[in-house]
């Protein structure tokens, strides 16, 4: 520990602007590295290194009894993709639908909290976050009760003839909602809504209310103000909200397992059962790598197109 302030080294030029980077003695220049070391080491050993192990596992062949050898067997990727591409398509489709629904449902609530709540703002924020504290598995199980075959929701949807339409679209089947894609998407939307609402709220809250007034003064109708002022200014929230919902939703298997059926299994379920039950490690590792690659590609393209690359 340095107890005395050493005078700044005279030779070092004073870098502009940032007060933290004034010329410092060499001993103190090492401080950031010491601060970083333990945490970064942790991430390297338990996040980056596992990825390497998984990569090597995915090109191994063998069996549990004989042991696995690295044989550069890239065939596994092709086979896994051929066998499980419906699960991939389903995962992306469900996660995508849930993300769009989260945006559509979450935007009004975030808007309400940011602009219309007034003194009740804190209360509403608490109501958004508090459900979170009940374990998400318990809450997901509660949807089983809500969507039960003889329950009120299914009854109402049936009376309103909604189920006929959704069955025709392939979202539901046999006059029930549980064990259908609709139930899974409903659960995903529900589970990831807060991840959409909170970033939306933060970016909406930063918008200066006077901009809305100015738009009104310039004879913009409310819809135009919303489209030309509010939405563009909340873009950072929309982007990070979408990512925070889409990424975890695409790898989720809890909703599909608890609320769906064998026809709604997502790729997460397959990875889980290959790893923990079938013990076919190469296939499981390959699947998980494909999922990672797909998500990274989708996310990169999305960030590029939305034009907020400084997000990271």
């Amino acid at each position: 520990m340095t107890t005395t302030e050493a005078p700044p080294a005279p030779a070092a030029p004073p870098p502009a602007a940032d007060p933290a980077v004034r010329a410092v003695p060499r001993r103190r220049r090492l401080v950031p590295y010491w601060l970083l070391l333990p945490g970064i080491l942790w991430l390297l050993v338990f996040f980056a290194l596992p990825m390497v192990y998984q990569a090597s596992t995915s090109v191994q062949t063998g069996s549990l009894e004989e042991g696995f050898q690295v044989t550069w067997h890239f065939q596994t990727y092709w086979e896994a993709l051929q066998e499980y591409y419906p699960h991939f398509v389903r995962s992306l489709l469900y996660a995508g639908t849930a993300t769009v629904l989260c945006l559509v449902l979450g935007y009004p609530l975030a808007y309400l909290i940011a602009f219309k709540a007034g003194r009740r703002r804190n209360l509403l924020l608490v109501l958004v976050i508090a459900p979170f504290f009940t374990s998400f598995l318990i809450r997901t199980l509660a949807w089983k009760t809500i969507l039960a075959d003889d329950g009120a929701v299914v009854g109402a949807l049936d009376t309103l003839r909604v189920l006929d339409v959704t069955s025709w679209l392939g979202w539901t089947a046999d006059d029930r909602v549980l064990a259908t894609p609709m139930a899974v998407v409903c659960g995903l939307t529900y589970n990831f809504l807060p991840f959409m609402i909170l970033p939306l709220y933060t970016s909406l809250e930063r918008i200066d209310g006077r901009l809305h007034e100015a738009a009104g003064d310039l004879y913009a109708r409310p819809a135009t103000t919303f489209r030309k002022v509010t939405v563009p200014l909340s873009m950072p929230g929309i982007v990070s909200g979408t990512l925070l919902t889409f990424i975890p939703a695409s790898g989720d298997y809890v909703n599909a397992e608890l609320l769906g059926s064998t026809d709604t299994k997502m790729v997460g379920s397959v990875i889980q059962s290959q790893f923990l039950r079938v013990l076919d490690y190469p296939t499981a590792a390959a699947l998980s790598f494909i999922l990672m690659a797909v998500v990274l590609v989708v996310v990169t393209v999305y960030i590029r197109r939305s034009g907020t690359e400084d997000l990271v």
Partner: protein
């Protein structure tokens, strides 16, 4: 009609809120149920049995204790490591800053199942015994990035002049840090710690892969979804909800009172 049009945002927002709270209400109501079979999905009769005996189901309270222990240690680990990283990132310019930033970002941009699976391959290859320690390691790993983000936000908005002032008043580096820097950064660190605790306590996917035969609370709930859900699960869920709401209200009251005390 005009009223609806004018208040469309409010109506839509409140409907979303209702959608978010509905399952919690169901959990609350069904914690007073006395189900006939093994599953607590259909309403039968009102009963206080589960509330009187929350630990009446085998392994439930053991799993809660285990989850609690893991969450506490994971919070401590992730908060200490994460705060150090956050300070380094905000306060210092150094080489590899970009690389460090992406290493922090990546775990948050990765589907959980991918991290869970890769970590399992590491542990299998090392021949590590799955259980408490592997779960703790995993939890610290995925909580770390969230702590860094939370603390970073706070430290970034700190005025370095305050620390300069402390130094001008002859406070040593240690004294400056303990008396000035830490108190200002505390809300950010607390937010990060709370987030880490909640994430760790509620995590299922990563734990499921790396827990071996240890059973955390989420894993107990998962298992019970297959074998039969005891009403006690609803009791625990309701209690968690209530504690959270009370904590928020309490925090609000304290900060209100402080504000009042600060303004004469």
């Amino acid at each position: 009609m005009r009223w609806i049009r004018r208040n469309a945002v409010v109506v839509a927002g409140l409907l979303t809120l209702a959608y978010m709270i509905l399952p919690n209400l169901v959990v609350l109501v069904f914690s007073f149920n006395k189900p006939k079979g093994r599953f607590n999905y259909a309403w039968q009769t009102f009963s206080l049995d589960a509330w009187k005996d929350p630990c009446g189901v085998a392994d439930l309270c053991e799993s809660l204790t285990l989850s609690f222990q893991i969450a506490v240690w994971a919070t401590i680990g992730a908060t200490v490591l994460g705060t150090m990283i956050a300070f380094a990132l905000v306060r210092y310019r150094f080489r590899a800053r970009g690389a460090v930033n992406s290493l922090i970002f990546l775990p948050m941009a990765m589907p959980e199942v991918v991290m869970a699976a890769s970590l399992l391959t590491l542990f299998l290859n090392m021949g590590a015994e799955l259980g408490f320690w592997t779960v703790l390691i995993a939890h610290i790993m995925f909580c770390l990035s969230f702590v860094v983000t939370a603390v970073k936000a706070r430290v970034m908005s700190m005025d370095p002049k305050l620390e300069e002032a402390a130094r001008d008043l002859y406070a040593g580096p240690v004294q400056t840090f303990v008396r000035v820097t830490l108190p200002i950064a505390a809300p950010g660190i607390a937010a990060g710690a709370l987030l880490a605790f909640a994430l760790s306590f509620d995590d299922f996917i990563i734990t499921n892969f790396n827990a071996g035969s240890s059973v955390t609370f989420p894993m107990f709930v998962w298992g019970s979804a297959q074998r039969g859900t005891p009403v006690q699960i609803n009791v625990v869920g309701t209690a968690m909800f209530a504690v959270a709401v009370l904590m928020v209200i309490g925090g609000q009251l304290i900060s209100d009172r402080r504000k009042k005390a600060a303004t004469p």
